[in-house]
Symmetry: C2
């Protein structure tokens, strides 16, 4: 099966009390991932927008940077991440992501469940 880009579910939501809306293009639903993952998405953060700092429990979230530059909050320490870098936030860890640049930040977000 294949799906054209424009037919993927898309939503703009405030994520974890971040600044403004985050654009989320869903690449799969949870059922198609056997309930072993709950998000596989192409995420876009426009300049000034952010995903708020939050914890993950019994799951790991990956951010794979595709375009732009992000400020990744890795358990309280900020680091600049760029295309090709991979971020992983496992059980009991915290993260957040902010776009302080003038260009869109795009990344793949994948949440794999430990259940």
């Amino acid at each position: 099966m294949y799906k054209r880009s424009e037919n993927c579910p898309m939503k703009d939501i405030c994520v974890q009390n971040g600044n403004g809306l985050t654009h989320i293009k869903e690449l799969s639903d949870r059922a198609a991932m056997y309930d072993h993952a709950r998000m596989f998405a192409h995420v876009t953060l426009e300049p000034g927008r952010s995903i708020g700092y939050h914890i993950h429990e019994k799951e790991t979230e990956f951010y794979y940077i595709l375009k732009g530059e992000g400020v990744f909050n890795d358990n309280g320490t900020e680091v600049i991440v760029r295309p090709g870098d991979i971020c992983a936030t496992a059980h009991g860890e915290h993260h957040g992501m902010e776009n302080r640049s003038a260009e869109n930040l795009e990344m793949i977000a994948l949440i794999v469940l430990d259940n």
Copy 2:
């Protein structure tokens, strides 16, 4: 945790008797995905190279096209896929991917296990 692009494991292998080598940049290992996924990778197929046609059993593989143009063999039917398109090959299904263009084809590959 974050990892710079250049520190990710990379390998060039022939995949499923395809043409030539496929470049695979691993974004996570299986253990970090709780044995619920066995591949999360950034895959590059140079012009003329391919991933051979093969079946998936008790798992689903997703290809998310990032750059270039691919010929996706979807259970025996060829279709051109482009950036933003998502391919899903579930239990009992077959697929392959070929780059017949003059530019590199890049995609995210994710294999989620049903176990």
